[in-house]
Structures are given as C-alpha cells and as structure tokens.
C-alpha cells in the first residue's frame, strides 16, 4: 500500500529557510544607560557605559571577575547607594524614560519595581509564607486573602508551589539550596516588579537546581525584564536573548546572544567566550 507523503511540506514550511538569519525583532527599550561612569572612592569601576536593555527580554552580563558587570547590575536598583564612596560621576540610567537617580525617585519604590536575586540565596529566618509576603507587608497590606493569593501566585510563578504548599509555615531555611533560591525569586516577584536582576543566581546550585532556575527564567521573561550576571557561558547561551560582554569596566560588545556565541564582532569577546581569555 502506498503511504501518502503528507508531512514533508508541513516540515519544510515550519523550517524558515530565510530564517537562518532570523534575528529577534527589536525590543522596546526599558532601561537606557547613557555614558555612565561609576566610582568606588577613587577607583573607577565603570567607564562610559552606553546600553539599552529591552523589555521582556533576558539580557546576560558576562565578563571576567572585576569587569564591572555586578556593579552595573547593582546600579540598576541603586543598591550601590548603600556603599560608602560609591557614586555615579557622570551619565544616567533611565527606566521608562525616568532617571532613577532623580531626586523625585524613592529608592525603596525603585527596588519594588526592580527586584533582585543574589548569588547566595538569602531567605529571611522566617517561614516560607512570611518570606514571600514580606515586601507586601512592608507596603502595609494586611488582608489575609490577598496575602494568601499573593503567596500562591508568587510560589507558582517561581515553580515552587507544588513542593512547599503543605508546609508554608515552616522556616524558609529548611528548604534545599535550589528551593531557597526559588523562594527568593518568589519573594522578589511577590511585589510585582517590572525588572528582575539576578546576580549569578545558580553559582551555588547543583545542575538539577540550576536547570529549574533556568527553566523558570525562561517562563518569567514573558512577564518580566530579566538581567542576569553569570560566569557560565553555557548558561548565558541557554537563557539569554541578548548578551553584554564587559572587560575592565568597559562594555566591549552587546548583541544578540546567538551572534555573540556564533560570531562575535570583537576579538576580545571571542577570546572570552571561547575560554582563551588572558
């Protein structure tokens, strides 16, 4: 009996031959960093950074230790304000056209919009429930139904709900490392931010927990703009849409991740992503 050939055209349609050059459509700029010079005391840590970060995209910051990528990340929610002698000497950072260093901007409000997840998971020594609701309580929300809803939504958003729903009142510190990190993500998204900053969020995690966080990043990017600092080239390649490479406080190259990892324009970038740096 003759087998009808019906799949071939469908397959060939689904493979966009012209799509070999398919690039991301240009995203809308959410964060606009212009001519930024940053100092720790006398020491300049960032030099003339110009970078437009796109909305609802994952951008990876890569570069060797001390290149300024974490410094820049911390500038984005003014975490550096807390460090003595740290200052922006020149330039600006705008989020939706508002300069975040403008006097009218309240850093606390800013940090609600720009959440952060750190390298080492840092749940508060409180219950899982209290960890997630901490930010909301600070905002004065006391309504139990509303808090309950936020806990479920945030824990589901952080892909942790199924694992902890029966022990919400146990300590956050009783969770595994990977679960603690996802709890921190749940805590960050509970206040409904626009932007999530992640500073090496998987560096202390095993491959399974890492895979869960990466999976989560991929889901979260439909709602949030994510900026992730990572030392893992493979993680940047897997998770991000765009990649920025920093070296000695300067932005060397910023492009689509597929371009950075297939054919970077700058030889320093090529040397770094290929592991030949130095």
């Amino acid at each position: 009996m003759e087998t009808p050939v019906t799949t071939a055209p469908a397959v060939s349609r689904s493979i966009n031959i012209a799509g070999r050059a398919a690039s991301l459509p240009p995203g809308r700029t959410l964060i606009d960093i212009e001519a930024l010079d940053f100092f720790y005391g006398q020491k300049q840590a960032l030099f003339d950074i110009n970078l437009k970060l796109e909305e609802k995209r994952v951008t990876a910051f890569i570069g060797p230790s001390g290149c300024g990528k974490s410094t820049l990340l911390r500038c984005l929610n003014r975490m550096n304000d807390l460090i003595d002698g740290a200052r922006i000497q020149r330039g600006s950072i705008k989020v939706r056209d508002t300069d975040i260093h403008d006097r009218s901007v309240d850093p606390i409000e800013l940090r609600k919009r720009v959440g952060m997840v750190f390298q080492k998971s840092n749940p508060f020594p409180k219950s899982i429930y209290e960890n997630v609701t901490y930010g909301l309580r600070i905002q004065g929300i006391r309504n139990k139904t509303r808090l309950d809803e936020a806990v479920e939504k945030s824990l589901r958003g952080a892909a942790l709900w199924d694992e902890v729903k029966d022990r919400l009142h146990e300590s956050g510190l009783s969770l595994s490392g990977g679960q603690q990190q996802r709890l921190c993500i749940a805590r960050a998204i509970a206040v409904d931010p626009e932007i999530l900053l992640m500073d090496e969020p998987c560096s202390a995690l095993d491959p399974i927990a890492t895979a869960k966080i990466e999976e989560l990043i991929n889901e979260l990017k439909t709602k949030y703009t994510i900026i992730i600092v990572t030392h893992s080239m493979q993680q940047a390649a897997r998770c991000s849409d765009k990649t920025a490479f920093f070296y000695l406080g300067r932005l060397i190259e910023y492009d689509e991740t597929r371009k950075i990892f297939m054919n970077p324009s700058n030889p320093q970038t090529e040397a770094y992503v290929s592991g030949r740096f130095g």
Partner: protein, 226 residues
C-alpha cells in the same frame, strides 16, 4: 592564552587538510589513468579509496568527541561543524575519483572514441576549485571562496557540451554507445567533484564569516559585508 586542548583543534585541521590532499590526488590519478589508459593505476585508485573513507570516520569521531567534551563556541564551533561537512564532501570526491577509475578500466579495453581534450580541461578546473576552496581553510579569503562558487558554472557548461556531443556520437554510430556512455558518466563525475568543491567553498565562507550563502543571492554581491 592557549588552552591545554588547543592542539586537538590543530590536529583536526591537519586531518582535514590531509584528507583534502588525498582526495585531490585520487582525482588526479584517476584522470591520468583514464587519459593514459593505465589500468594498473586505475586499480590502485580504487584500492586507495578506503583511506579516504577511514579519514572521514576519524574526522567525524573527533568532531563529535570535541563537541561533546570541549563545548566549542564561536569560531571553534564553526570549525568543527565545517570540518564534518567538508570531510563528507571530500569523501564523495574520493568516490567520484573511484567511479572515474572504474570507467577508465572499461574504456581502456576499446580504442578511444575521441582525443581527451574536454575531460582533462574540466578535471583541471574542478581540481583548481578544490584547491582554492581548501586553501580558504588555512587562509580565509572570502573573494577566493566566492570565485570557486562562481566557477562551478564553467564545469557545468562543459559537461552539457560533452553530453550533447556524446549523444550525437551515439545516434550516428551505435557501436560507440558503451564508450560514449562511460564518458558521459566520467563527465558527470567531474561535474559532481566541482559541486563538492563549491559546497566546501560555501562552508569556508561560513567558517570565516558565520554566513550561510547556500541557496542565496550572495554571488550577486561583490563581498559579503553588509
């Protein structure tokens, strides 16, 4: 900074160059066997094809091992991918040389149909194309690679001319039929060798520029920079 496994990529390159040299030598020897009616040489060409087949397998194995253990990125990744594809093309070049050699043995049993002019000319062009394409592997040269792709048409044209000429031989005197058919297949083999050279040239453009120019209008543009 050199990495401790950089020598592996150098070895990989060398293996590919070795395979290229061997494949070209096979084509040269097959054509000589044909034009000089050298049956012994033709048989040797057929026997030597195994060496090229083995190299293809070695190159594939090394490419897979390297991708698996070294997770290459950017140029390194393109090198390994292009190496695998080019070695496949070279293996097919070797097969075509074998086909020519086998037909040379059969053609040597009868008097020549006509003096060998077009076939050596085609063969020389195909070999130059292969040489130029493989040169780009060591010395990336987009212009040279694109010139190879353009030259394919020259070989195609001679192949078509030969086809017409040999067809008229067959129509006019049917006793020439088997010889004319053998020659048609030889011509087709050379035309295929030029196609493989074209593929390799396209792969070399991908290696140096990360641009895939297959089935595109790239040739209409003087360079690829855009």
């Amino acid at each position: 900074m050199k990495r401790f496994y950089d020598t592996e990529l150098e070895t990989f390159r060398s293996q590919l160059i070795l395979m290229g040299e061997k494949s070209m030598e096979q084509v040269r020897r097959a054509l000589r066997a044909l034009t000089e009616n050298d049956v012994a040489l033709a048989s040797d060409v057929v026997a030597t094809d195994d060496e090229i087949d083995r190299l293809e397998i070695e190159i594939d194995e090394e490419a897979i091992r390297y991708m698996n253990l070294r997770a290459p990125i950017a140029t390194d990744l393109r090198l390994v991918i292009v190496g695998m594809k080019a070695s496949h093309d070279l293996e097919r070049v070797g097969d075509e040389a074998t086909n020519i050699a086998k037909r040379a043995v059969r053609l040597a049993e009868e008097p020549p149909l006509k003096p060998y002019v077009d076939i050596p000319r085609m063969g020389a062009i195909a070999l130059e194309m292969l040489r130029d394409a493989l040169d780009c592997f060591f010395h990336p040269d987009e212009g040279k690679a694109l010139a190879v792709v353009r030259r394919d048409e020259e070989v195609d044209t001679i192949n078509r001319q030969l086809y017409r000429e040999l067809t008229s031989f067959m129509i006019e005197s049917p006793q020439t039929l088997s010889r004319a058919l053998e020659l048609m297949f030889v011509s087709k083999s050379i035309e295929r060798i030029a196609d493989h050279a074209t593929n390799i040239a396209e792969e070399m453009v991908f290696l140096s520029h990360a641009k895939d120019i297959r089935h595109t209008d790239a040739l209409k543009h003087p360079t690829l920079e855009s």
